[in-house]
C-alpha cells in the first residue's frame, strides 16, 4: 500500500506554508538576533508569533481536518514528534517558583501535546516519539510503515517544539549556537539557530489531487559519538541509501536534497561529504534552516512540507546566506531552480547519532 501526503499546515518564524515558501524562494531569512536568552551574548533564534503551543496545535489540526476528505479523526492515528513536549510551560513554572511543587507531572513530558489533541479531536489512537532532532522525521517513518502494512488508512503526523530556555542555553554550552543568522554550507558559518515550529501532515492510503507520495524511508545510527557525527558519514549515507532503496528508485533519480544543514561546523562538513559520496554534483542541495532556524523535533515535519512544496511548485529552494561554499564537490543551489522535481530526499540527524532520511515523490 502506498502512503500519500494529502494535505499539510505549519506555523514557524516565517509564518504559514505560503509565507515560508515565499521567504525561502526569496532567500529572506526570518531569523532574529536575540539578546534576552544569554547573559553575555546574543543568539540567532527562530521565534513564532503565538500565544501558546496548545492553541497552535489545535488550530493547525482543525485546518488539516477542514481541508481533508475526512469528517473527523475517529479512524486516524496521531503520531506526535517532539524533543521537549511540555517542558516550555514546566520550566517557566520552575523558574518562577524556584520549586517543582506547582508542576503537574502530566504536563511535563512529550505526550502532553498528543494527549491534548487526542482529547480535542478523539483520534482512534495516538502516540508520541522523541528522538531529539529526528523526532518528527521518525514519526513520518513510522506513519509510512503503518500504511505500508495496512494497519491504518489515515495517519496524522505532527512535529512540534516550542522554544525553551534550557535548549537555547544547552546548545550555547555545547558551543554550537550562532550569534548571527546561520549560513549552512558556508566556509565562514559559525553555528546554528535554535527555533520553534509546528508542522502537520496528513498521510493516507489514497491519492487525491495534489498528493505527494511518501515514497521511501531509511534510518540508521552512527554508533560514533553522542553529539558529533561520524566523520566518515557512514550513518548519513546508510540512512539515505536505505530510504532510496525503500522508495524503489535509483540514486540518480533524486533531484534535490533538502539537507539537515544546521550550519554547525561538524554537521555541514559531514553531511556535505555524505552527499558528495552518494550523489556527487548530480543533485541540487540546500538547507532551509537558513530561513527557519533549527526547529529541533519539528524539523522533520517542517522540512517534509518544504520538500512537498518543492515538488508541487516545480522549484528547487535556493540556499540563503551562502557566500563562500565550503565543499565545492556538491551542487548547492545558489538560486531557485525551476524544473520538474520528481524525487526529493530530506535528511534529519540528531544527538546520539540518530539519522533519518525520507524520500518524497511526485504523483503525476
Amino acid at each position: 500500500m502506498s502512503a500519500y501526503i494529502n494535505n499539510y499546515e505549519l506555523l514557524c518564524n516565517a509564518g504559514d506554508v505560503e509565507s515560508l515558501m515565499q521567504a525561502i524562494y526569496a532567500k529572506e531569512s526570518a531569523l532574529v538576533i536575540d539578546n534576552t536568552y544569554l547573559d553575555d551574548a546574543s543568539a540567532g533564534l527562530g521565534i513564532m508569533e503565538y500565544d501558546n503551543i496548545f492553541n497552535v496545535l489545535e488550530r493547525i489540526t482543525q485546518q488539516i481536518l477542514d481541508k481533508s476528505n475526512l469528517d473527523n479523526f475517529h479512524n486516524t492515528l496521531l503520531i506526535m514528534g517532539s524533543s521537549v513536549g511540555g517542558m516550555q510551560e514546566c520550566e517557566d513554572i520552575f523558574y518562577r517558583d524556584m520549586s517543582f511543587k506547582n508542576i503537574d507531572p502530566m504536563r511535563y513530558s512529550i505526550h502532553v501535546l498528543s494527549d491534548y489533541l487526542q482529547e480535542k479531536f478523539a483520534f482512534y489512537d495516538s502516540r508520541a516519539i522523541s528522538t531529539a532532532c529526528t523526532s518528527s522525521a521518525n514519526a513520518l517513518l513510522l506513519a509510512k510503515r503503518l500504511i505500508d502494512v495496512e494497519a491504518y488508512d489515515n495517519v496524522l503526523v505532527i512535529g512540534a517544539d516550542g522554544l525553551c530556555r534550557s535548549t537555547v542555553l544547552g546548545f550555547h554550552a555545547l558551543g554550537v549556537l550562532s550569534n548571527k543568522r546561520c549560513t549552512p554550507f558556508d566556509t565562514d558559518r559559525n553555528g546554528m539557530n535554535v527555533a520553534e515550529a509546528v508542522g502537520a501532515l496528513l498521510i493516507q492510503n489514497v491519492k487525491v489531487k495534489d498528493s505527494v507520495e511518501l515514497k521511501g524511508v531509511g534510518a540508521s545510527s552512527d554508533a560514533y559519538h553522542m553529539t558529533n557525527p561520524d566523520p566518515e558519514a557512514t550513518g548519513a549515507i546508510r540512512s539515505m541509501r536505505d530510504a532510496i532503496a525503500d522508495a524503489g528508485i535509483e540514486i540518480d533519480d533524486i533531484d534535490y536534497v533538502n539537507a539537515h544543514g544546521t550550519a554547525t561546523l561538524a554537521n555541514d562538513r559531514v553531511e556535505s561529504l555524505a552527499v558528495e559520496k552518494l550523489f556527487g554534483k548530480k543533485v541540487f542541495v540546500s538547507s532551509t534552516k537558513a530561513i527557519t532556524g533549527h526547529t529541533l523535533g519539528a524539523a522533520g515535519a517542517i522540512e517534509a512540507i518544504v520538500s512537498c512544496e518543492a515538488i508541487r511548485n516545480s522549484m528547487i529552494p535556493p540556499q540563503a546566506g551562502l557566500k563562500n561554499q565550503e565543499n565545492k564537490n556538491i551542487n548547492v543551489a545558489k538560486e531557485s531552480v525551476k524544473m520538474d522535481v520528481s524525487y526529493v530526499i530530506s535528511n534529519s540527524f540528531a544527538f546520539g547519532g540518530n539519522n533519518t532520511s525520507l524520500v518524497f515523490g511526485a504523483c503525476r
Binding site: 524533543s83 520550566e91 513530558s109 512529550i110 516519539i129 521518525n138 557512514t234
Partner: protein, 215 residues
C-alpha cells in the same frame, strides 16, 4: 486496524524503591570515561539488554519522563546562573539511553524512542511489533523510568519505585491463533508507563511466549 502475533524470545525486569543496586556496569562498560558519562536510564537499559542477551539490531525504547536527572541539573544551573554542563545537555534527550547502547555495542541499526505518557510501554510494544513486521528481524523493546532526583517527593504521585525497567526481545510469529492478549493485571505502586511491558515480562515468566498486539 491490524493485530499481529509477537513471539517473545527473552525477557527481563528490574525495579527498586530508590536506587537499583549492582547494575554490573564495570563488566558491561569496561571503558571508564564512557561509564562515567552514563545516565541512570542508560545503565538500567544496558543491564536489561544483557539479561535479554541482546547485542545488535533494531531498538524501540520507551520512557515517559526519560532523563529527568539531567534535565533537573540543567534547570538548577539556569536558576543559579551556574555554568551549564554540556554533558548534562547532551544526556538530556529522550534517546540518550539507546544511543549509549548503540555507541557501546557499535549497533548501527534503527532506534525509535517512544514517550506516550502512561501508555508508553504499550506504544513501545506496538512500535516494536511494527519494526519486527517490516524488517522480519528480532527487535529489542525496552522501557525505563529513573526519576530518583532531588526533591522528587514534591511531585511524585505515581509510583513507589523510583527506578524501574522492563524489556523483551521479540519477533513476528505467523501463528496468530495461539497468541494471547496482554493480560489486564497491574503491578501495585508501579508507574503506569511501565505496566504493560512488565505484564508481558510476567506472562513470559509464567510460560506464555506469544502475545497478540494491535499495531
Amino acid at each position: 486496524m491490524k493485530k499481529v502475533a509477537l513471539k517473545i524470545i527473552s525477557a527481563a525486569k528490574i525495579y527498586a524503591p530508590t536506587k537499583i543496586e549492582n547494575l554490573d556496569e564495570k563488566r558491561l562498560v569496561p571503558h571508564m570515561m564512557t561509564r562515567r558519562r552514563l545516565t541512570r536510564n542508560s545503565k538500567v537499559m544496558l543491564y536489561l539488554s544483557d539479561k535479554c542477551d541482546f547485542k545488535d539490531g533494531k531498538i524501540v525504547y520507551g520512557s515517559c519522563y526519560s532523563e529527568l536527572d539531567e534535565t533537573a541539573k540543567i534547570s538548577r544551573s539556569v536558576l543559579t546562573n551556574d555554568i551549564l554542563s554540556p554533558t548534562a545537555f547532551q544526556n538530556s534527550v529522550y534517546n540518550t539511553a539507546p544511543s549509549y547502547f548503540s555507541l557501546i555495542n557499535k549497533d548501527k541499526d534503527e532506534i525509535i524512542t517512544i514517550s506516550s505518557g502512561m501508555k508508553t510501554s504499550l506504544d513501545t510494544l506496538k512500535t516494536a511489533a511494527l519494526q519486527a513486521l517490516v524488517s522480519k528481524e528480532r527487535v529489542f523493546c525496552v522501557s525505563v523510568e529513573c526519576i530518583n532526583i532531588d526533591k522528587i517527593q514534591e511531585i511524585n504521585r505515581c509510583t513507589k519505585y523510583l527506578e524501574a525497567g522492563a524489556a523483551v526481545v521479540v519477533e513476528i510469529s505467523d501463528e496468530i491463533e495461539d497468541a494471547i492478549e496482554i493480560e489486564d493485571s497491574k503491578m501495585p505502586d508501579m508507574i503506569g508507563s511501565l505496566q504493560d511491558l512488565i505484564c508481558v515480562v510476567d506472562m513470559y515468566e509464567k510460560g506464555i511466549d506469544k502475545i497478540l498486539i494491535e499495531l
